[in-house]
Point group: D2
Chain length 93, copies 4
C-alpha cells in the first residue's frame, strides 16, 4: 500500500505543477530565451521535483516503514535498507 | 542570443521526454504505486532535468561567455559572474 | 542515545579519511595545483562526507526512529519529522 | 597556472575551516552526540566544501578558460569541455 494515500491529491497537484513548469521550459527554449533564464527555471523545476520526493519519503517513513517496524522481524530491517537506498539515490541526483 | 541554438531540437526532445516522465509519475501516483518505485522515477526525472541544464550550461560557456570574453571589457566579467551564479543554483537544487 | 554506536569506529575512521582529504586539498592549493584537479578532489571529499551522512541516517532510522515507533505516541511522529528535515538538508547541501 | 592564485590565501583559510569542521565532527561522534546533530554539522561542512568549489570554478572560468578563449583554437573548446565535466561532477556529488 502507498504511504502517501492521504496526501494523494496534494501530490498529484504538485506533479501537475511540475509538468506545467517543464512545458513552460519547452516554450522558453522554442522562443530561444536567454540560456541563464532557462537555467533558472530548470533549477526551480528540479527543486519542485525534489520537494515531492521529500514529501513521499516522509509519508513512506511514517507509514510503510513504521508499520513494518511495529510488526518487527527481518521485514523492518529490509524496509529501512530500502528507504536508505532511495535516500542515497535522491542525494546523488 | 541563445547559446543552445545549434542544439535547440535536441534540447526540446530531451525536455519532451522529461515531460513524459512527469506525466508517468502522475499515472503512478494515481494508481497508488509503491512509494519507493515512485521515488526511483523521481530520481530519474531529476537526473534527466539536470542533464539538460548541464548541456545548456556547456553551450552557454562555449558561445555566450566565450563571445563576451573575446570582446573583452567589463561585460566578460559580468558574464562569468552570471554563469557562476547559475552553476551555484544548480549545485544547490 | 546515538544510533551509530555499533558503527562508531567505522564512522570515526571514515571521518579521519575525509580530514586527510581536506588536508590534501590544502597542500594542492598551496602548491598551486591546476584548478580542475583541485575540483576533482573536492568532489571526492564531498562524496565521502555524504557517504558518512547516509550511513548515519540509516543507523538513525533503524535504531532511534524504529525505537520511537515501537514505543508509539507522538514521539514517533516527531522522530520521523526530524529525520525528514535532516534528509531535506542533505539533499539540498 | 592556477586560476585562483589571487585568492589563494582566502581559499586556504576556507579549507582550514572545513578541516576544523571535520575534526569537530570526529569529536562529536567520539562523544556519541545525537545523530541528527551530527548530520546537521555534516550538511554544514558539505556546504562549506561546495562553496570552495564554486569559488575555484568562478576563478577558473574568469582566468584559465577566458585566457584559452582569447587565444582561440581547439584549446578553447577543450577548456570549456573540461570545465563542464567538472561542473557535472560537482552537481552529482
Amino acid at each position: 500500500m502507498a504511504g502517501y494515500i492521504e496526501n494523494k491529491d496534494a501530490v498529484l497537484k504538485r506533479l501537475a505543477r511540475v509538468e506545467g513548469q517543464v512545458r513552460g521550459l519547452q516554450r522558453m527554449v522554442d522562443a530561444e530565451t536567454y540560456c541563464i533564464d532557462v537555467l533558472t527555471q530548470i533549477s526551480a523545476a528540479t527543486k519542485a521535483l525534489q520537494a515531492v520526493a521529500l514529501e513521499l519519503l516522509e509519508d513512506h517513513l511514517s507509514h510503510c516503514v513504521a508499520d513494518a517496524t511495529r510488526e518487527g522481524g527481518t521485514e523492518a530491517d529490509a524496509k529501512v535498507k530500502e528507504a536508505s537506498d532511495a535516500i542515497a539515490r535522491l542525494v546523488r541526483s
